[in-house]
């Protein structure tokens, strides 16, 4: 009995590590290609046979991207818009998620469905009216218009996502708190909300990645170069004269870094949620 169990455990572990390594390789394969391309010399970028390890290494593309274009500015723009969108989305979406989970009033499901329905309209089809509206309100080439649109398009997702987290928390907790004298509001903020930290962290990542990589709205709403976001900056590298692979890959490589940083930071919150034991009970 013990040896069979041990064998099963070993097999399980081999399978787990094997599969994860395979998937990791598949995930990183294109990214490694991108990073290696970003340090290849200009004349060598597209070559045949395709070479992985560059014969000559250069960082000229990186300096080019950050000194000879507005990419640094685009980074700042993306950071600001992302941060604001996360704040606003979490604010509206978390409250909405709580209501979706705990509320028992007539028409609740109908209202929730309407909220979800707003993201069923393909973004590309509302571009023109959104543009006209923004123009009329003098919101073109501002951060605000981007934050407003992105928030509106992410709130439904965050709401439904946070609802799931609220659902997983027993209502008995709130009832206990209210019996002890908390008002429903206090019960929500002091007792329930802290328990949803893994959900908030995940939602923040979701929104950040969405805003960081969003292209079509960012392209349409800004004609002034200083207000552009990173994906539009990347678009410039698909020039009229061919794709500027070196600079494009350098920009892509640097663009991933902040998200990875955020992801690693928020990873701990996931773990915190576990060790605090609040949900595990």
């Amino acid at each position: 009995m013990p040896s069979k169990h041990r064998l099963a455990q070993l097999g399980d572990r081999v399978l787990t590590y094997g599969v994860l390594s395979l998937v990791t390789a598949a995930s990183l394969f294109p990214v490694v290609w991108a990073v290696l391309t970003s340090i290849k010399v200009q004349g060598d970028l597209v070559s045949y046979p395709p070479r992985w390890i560059p014969t000559q290494v250069t960082f000229a593309h990186y300096t080019d991207v950050f000194l000879n274009s507005n990419m640094a500015r685009y980074f700042g723009n993306s950071l600001l818009v992302s941060a604001l969108t996360i704040l606003l989305t979490l604010l509206i979406g978390t409250h909405g998620g709580y209501a979706a989970s705990r509320g028992r009033f007539r028409g609740k499901n109908f209202l929730l469905f309407i909220i979800l329905a707003t993201i069923m309209i393909p973004g590309v089809s509302v571009l023109v009216p959104l543009y006209m509206l923004a123009a009329r309100l003098h919101l073109l080439d501002t951060y605000l218009v981007l934050v407003l649109i992105y928030t509106a398009w992410q709130v439904p997702t965050v709401l439904w996502f946070m609802r799931g987290f609220f659902d997983a928390i027993s209502p008995e907790l709130e009832e206990a708190a209210q019996v002890d004298g908390c008002s429903p509001i206090q019960a929500m903020y002091r007792v329930i909300l802290p328990l949803t930290q893994p959900g908030l962290a995940a939602a923040a990542i979701l929104v950040f990645v969405y805003v960081w990589n969003e292209f079509i709205i960012a392209l349409t709403m800004s004609t002034k170069d200083e207000m552009r976001m990173i994906p539009v900056g990347l678009y410039f590298y698909i020039s009229q004269f061919g794709v500027e692979w070196g600079k494009l890959m350098a920009a892509v490589t640097v663009a991933i870094l902040p998200i990875i940083v955020l992801f690693v930071i928020l990873q701990r919150r996931f773990v915190q949620g576990l060790t605090s034991g609040a949900i595990k009970g």
């Binding site: 010399v41 004349g43 000879n68 604001l84 543009y131 002091r190 007792v191 802290p194 170069d225 609040a278």
Partner: protein, 453 residues
Amino acid sequence: MKRTTAQAYNRAHASVAGGETTRRRFLLTSTWVLAGVGAGTIPRFAAQAAGKAKITYWTPLDPKSKNLRSEAETAMIDLFRNRHPDIEVEVQPIPWQNIGTQTIQSVMAGRGPDVVQFSTYDLPIQVEAKTTAPLNNFMSKSWLAANQGDFLLPWENTVYGGQTMGLYWNSLLGSSLWHRRDLLEKKGLKVPKTWEEIATIGASVQTPQVAGYLTGLSKSGNAVQLTNWLIPSMWAAGSEFLAKDGRAAFDNPEGARPLEWLADLVYKYKVTPPNIVSLTRDNVLDAFSAGTAAMVHCSSNIVSSARSSAVVGKVMGLADSPGPTAAKPAPALVIGKTIAMTRVAKEREAAWLFIEHMTGRGAQTINAKIAQEPPCRKSVLKDPWFQTPEAADLKVQIEYMIRYPHPFQYHPKNNILADMLAEGSQQVIANRRPALEVLQDVAKKWNATIGLA
């Protein structure tokens, strides 16, 4: 369950104090941040020095970039700034794929640039969309007398309803035959002069790694890789492209010959791979630059991109695009990017001066020397620089353009036609449909689209 609930509750209660202050801090920070963003929405009014007129210029070239073309345009604009210190020029780079659409959107919304640089096929569309401003009033009789005849491309090409709606910013050769001199010389072969020779020479030089001939039939980028080659090839075969009223004129056996030839390259001579159905112009450029294609048809504006390749830069050659017979090459498809004023331009005089300058001899000479752009002016060609080795590529292409011209103006709905032709040619290669049948289908659809049954 009760015990665990109480535990959880107590634990949560213990964190209440911390929770309170963090929440307050959170609310405070977000208020500040939102206020800051609100402030950022106040439109920034450019400080206008007394008496300075300000114009906004939209261009696909990023002034901050350190490539030759951006540097050339910056030099052209700086020359203007020196000559007209009372005019301020704000340069906004716009991705070239989007500049037409963005101009229409902007002008419709009542705001927009004063001057725009359009792609080769965009001006007719912009005129239909009524975004451009007529320029006749700015062109005095004496100016016309001195300048009208100096443009390489037909003056009438940019005239709509009697009004000039834009001027050519450069001249562009739609397609010439790029080839690998080293591969041809190795086999002792000469540069092909007929379609047949492309096939046979391609078969001789090709290897499993290097295709004899490559092209791309993708719809992206207005299917320029396809149409830049197809249109002059139809002319060479003896067919017109479109009639004067826009009706399709290519649905005849002559018009079908180029696509039949291409299908033969793929299936009979096997010098072209069938995956050309999805290749874009950028793919073709990259393949040639990487050394995996022996011959391609490509446009003049990306010659320098291929020249910068370490693999083929020194061994590539340019030749006139072969015709069906050795008698003469295919007609040159001579097109050009245009520069125009929008109808929402406020400082019209200043905008005109800018347009006049950018298409003038001084600026065009800079563009040619620094960016290797064929100028829009004939007089610029007299500059001795064009006889230097530096200008060799330009010389070959310009001579081709001058010796074998064929008048051509894009139709206002050329983007729809290009899409149909790309789809059709993909069917010829991927589904092996007869070229004539496909072209007849396209002609029917096209004629219906423009309202001519």
